[in-house]
Amino acid sequence: MKCQKCDKPATFHITELTDGNPQELHLCEDHARQYLSQSGIGQAEPENVAAALAQQMAQHMAAGQVGQTAEELARLDQQLCPVCGISFYDFRSQGRLGCPNDYICFEQQLNPLILNIHGETEHTGKAPKVSAQASQERTQVIRFRREMQEAIAEEDYERASKLRDTIRRVEQEDENKPAQ
């Protein structure tokens, strides 16, 4: 796909959602930068073009892949993380994610953003002692705590006490860790 403003290939696919009516833009890097700087953000020296663009997109637009329609993006934008409850729109407007599970439930939207920022999408460095799977299971505790609060609010004490036991069981895993 060509850039809408010149003959270079379009590498940035931007969907502007701020006016309510989604509008698709396909731009080369130079024109994307020009477009984003005109929108009033990123007046500061960009430390790195890709990172600056990606950050700005994250804050103000949905970064989609070619082939995704604006409607699809708008729908994805409102989808909620079942663990912390934020939407991708919340992330775009604040620039910060809500919990570790966002990397899983918003992967489709985050992956192109991460690629823009880092030029890669695969971690190759150090890893913690715990497996990624165990870490992800642990993240579910955030959801259990929230559900426990809801159960208490609804006076469903049986459910609340079951949830409390589940949370305790998971939390005790750290205490059982062997000392280094």
Binding site: A44, P46, E47, N48, V49, A51, A54, Q55, A58, C84, I86, Q94, G95, R96, L97, G98, C99, P100, Y103, I104, L110, L113, I114, I117, H118, G119, E120, T121, E122, H123, T124, G125, K126, A127, P128, K129, V130, A132, Q133, A134, S135, Q136, R138, T139, V141, I142, V170, E171, E173, D174, K177, A179, Q180
Partner: protein, 362 residues
Amino acid sequence: MPHVELNDLTQSPGQWLRGSGPQADIVISSRIRLARNLADFPFVGRASENDRKRIEETLKGAVLGVQDANRLLYIEVEDLAGVDRQFLVERHLISREHAESQGVRAVAIDGGENFSIMINEEDHLRIQVLRSGLSLDETWDEINRIDDHIDSKVTYAFHEKYGYLTACPTNVGTGMRVSVMLHLPALVLTRQIEKVFRSLQKISLAVRGLFGEGSQAMGDFYQISNQITLGRSEQQLIKQVQDIVPVIIDYERQARDFLIKESPENLHDRVSRAYGILRTAQTISSEETMLLLSSVRMGVNLGLIHDLEIPLLNDLFLKTQPAHLQKLTGVELDSSDRNIERARYLRSHLHGRAKDDDSQKN
């Protein structure tokens, strides 16, 4: 009594300005920071006040085991007076964001100021290790040890593909920022600094000012750091910064040679005037002080000023900062009183007789 211990820090020069090591005239310090989050809490921005308390309790236990507790200073930043927060920012022990934000948050500081660990900053955990001069391998060994210790006590948020998970995707993967602080007055003076920055940006290295993100390059101090945190190993990220530093040092030396060759009188004049103002001014702002100290520092390194030592100058860069001045005098001062006190402090440290003049007046 953390307050007493905090005040003890005023007596030491602070790790980042100790001014030792090879090429210490240009390389000020090395720093590595790691961003980590607990798997079972929302990221800080989404955490409730109760979550923040529990994050702090959980991490406090893990962090206090990092080394002998007698050599650790644990501070609840929320309870700290404004001037003390600013003091820690000036010493690079906490970030400006950590000083200014709201809610339960803390910092654990090594007594020798070799590391600090922030709790509930943008991420649950921000570990940083500081060393004088160019010493990234040693810095990595230390931060890796601290990280392993904390990892043995808690469960970090980690993804098999994206690595360590952070509140902002710009830090995901290694969660690591490697930076080296350089003093580059000649590149600024010859207007070549922009060119250097542009070439660094092309290879994904970022340039920041003295106090990190978004800060002005005060006193010609610049931090060079990696922009990318994902897809490369910690060693690769360190090597990239390590490899570029000698190149920038070489540019700075060439610029200094050029200034000397082009017009030794102009350069000597600039340096001498800066020294003169610092020794005689009666009221002076922090910005002007930094600017002039930078010229004098270069003058000493080029042999144009003979009666000054670099460690004293490094010390003055730190002690003339607003919070340091107030900690040293023991009273809160407004901006105009600070400018008077700063000038007095500079006169007494740069010119033996200035002290006598003062005592005659009093």
